[in-house]
C-alpha cells in the first residue's frame, strides 16, 4: 500500500444549499474509485472537517461517473446569508477535502495523474 494525498488522485467540485456543503469527489479510473470508496468514508470526512462541520456527513455513490458525493450538514455557519465566515459558500471545502491522506494500492498511487500547477513568478 502507498500513502497519497487526495489532491494527487482526485478532482473535486463543491457548492452550497442553505447550510449544507455539497462536495463531489471524482476519480480518474475504476481502481482509484474503488480505493476512495473504501478509504474516504463519511466518518473520515466528518472527522477531517472537525469544527467546520457541526452536523452529520452523508455519502452517496455515483459509480457510473466514478464519483462520490458528500453532503455536509450544518457546514457553513448557518448558510451563506447568515454565516460570519469569509467562505460563506463553502467554495474552499472541496480543496480542504483534497488535503486528506489515504492508503491506496501501489498501482493506484503510481497511476495518479492529477497535476500540480507550475508557478511562474
Amino acid at each position: 500500500m502507498a500513502r497519497i494525498q487526495l489532491r494527487d488522485l482526485c478532482g473535486v467540485r463543491c457548492g452550497d444549499k442553505g447550510d449544507i456543503s455539497d462536495i463531489s469527489l471524482f476519480a480518474d479510473d475504476l481502481a482509484a474509485y474503488e480505493a476512495v470508496l473504501s478509504e474516504v468514508t463519511p466518518e473520515r470526512v466528518k472527522a477531517h472537517f472537525g469544527a467546520l462541520v457541526a452536523g452529520p456527513v452523508e455519502r452517496y455513490e455515483a459509480g457510473n461517473v466514478l464519483a462520490l458525493k458528500f453532503v455536509l450538514h450544518q457546514a457553513l455557519g448557518g448558510g451563506a446569508p447568515r454565516s460570519l465566515r469569509s467562505d460563506n459558500l463553502g467554495k474552499t471545502h472541496g480543496a480542504s477535502l483534497l488535503r486528506l491522506w489515504i492508503e491506496v494500492p501501489e498501482e493506484v498511487a503510481s497511476g495518479a495523474r492529477r497535476r500540480h500547477a507550475p508557478v511562474s513568478r
Binding site: S24, H48, Y60, A62, V65, T92, L97
Partner: protein
C-alpha cells in the same frame, strides 16, 4: 435531445472552454445532494443510472438516464432576519506574524467583554495560516518544518442583534495601530470594489509672516 432520451452535450465550435467526460460529470453532480434522487419540479432524476461517453472534440453523449414520478412538493425558501455582522481585518508581517495577529484579535474581543457588548457569535480567521481550511490544515507539520508565514491577515467577525452594537466594536480597533503588536499593516485600498481617489503630496515651506496662526476643531463621526 433525441426521442430515446439520449443527448449529446457540446458547445459552439469557436467558443472557449471544454466539453469532456470530466467537465460534464462535474456539472452533472453539482449541488444535487443524493445523485440518485435529484428533485426537479417535473421528475425525480436518477443521475447514477446514466452513461456518459466522451466522443472527443468537445462532444459527450448522455444516455440511459432514468427518472421517477415528479415529487408531491415544490421547494421554497424563506428568509428571516438573523442579526447584524461587523468585522475587522488586520495584517501583521513576519516575524511572529500569527502570534501578533492572534494577540490583536484577543485584544478586540477583550474590549467587547470589557464594554459589555452583546456579541452572540464570533468568527476568527487567519489568512496565511488556515482561514479557509480550518482543522483540515496540518499546522503541527507546518510548525515542525520551521515555516513561518511572511504575513498573516486576521479577520474577526461578530454577530449582534442590532446594527448599533455591531458597529460599536469597530471603533475599538484604532488603538491597535499605535499600541498593539508591531508590524501591523493594511490589507489594501479596496472598498467594495469602488474606485478610490489618489492624492499626490508635496512638502513646501512658507514664510512665518504670511501665516495667521489659529486652531479650529471640528469632530464628525459617521
Amino acid at each position: 435531445m433525441d426521442e430515446d432520451g439520449t443527448a449529446v452535450i457540446t458547445k459552439p465550435e469557436k467558443a472557449g472552454g471544454m466539453v469532456s467526460f470530466d467537465t460534464v460529470r462535474e456539472q452533472l453532480l453539482y449541488e444535487v445532494h443524493d445523485p440518485a434522487r435529484y428533485l426537479n419540479p417535473d421528475v425525480v432524476a436518477d443521475f447514477t443510472s446514466l452513461t456518459l461517453t466522451d466522443l472527443g472534440e468537445d462532444r459527450v453523449r448522455l444516455s440511459a438516464a432514468r427518472g421517477g414520478p415528479a415529487p408531491e412538493t415544490y421547494k421554497g425558501l424563506v428568509c428571516t432576519p438573523a442579526g447584524w455582522a461587523g468585522e475587522l481585518r488586520v495584517a501583521y508581517c513576519w516575524p511572529d506574524a500569527e502570534a501578533k495577529a492572534r494577540a490583536a484579535v484577543r485584544y478586540v474581543r477583550s474590549r467587547a467583554e470589557a464594554t459589555g457588548l452583546p456579541v452572540e457569535e464570533w468568527c476568527e480567521e487567519y489568512f496565511g495560516v488556515n482561514a479557509y481550511g480550518g482543522p483540515t490544515v496540518d499546522l503541527a507539520a507546518a510548525d515542525a518544518s520551521g515555516w513561518e508565514p511572511p504575513e498573516v491577515i486576521a479577520r474577526l467577525a461578530w454577530r449582534t442583534a442590532d446594527p448599533e452594537s455591531a458597529g460599536r466594536l469597530g471603533r475599538e480597533v484604532g488603538v491597535l495601530g499605535l499600541s498593539g503588536p508591531p508590524g501591523i499593516s493594511g490589507t489594501g485600498r479596496g472598498r467594495d470594489g469602488r474606485p478610490t481617489q489618489l492624492l499626490a503630496v508635496e512638502p513646501f515651506t512658507v514664510e512665518r509672516a504670511l501665516v495667521d496662526a489659529q486652531v479650529r476643531v471640528s469632530v464628525a463621526e459617521a
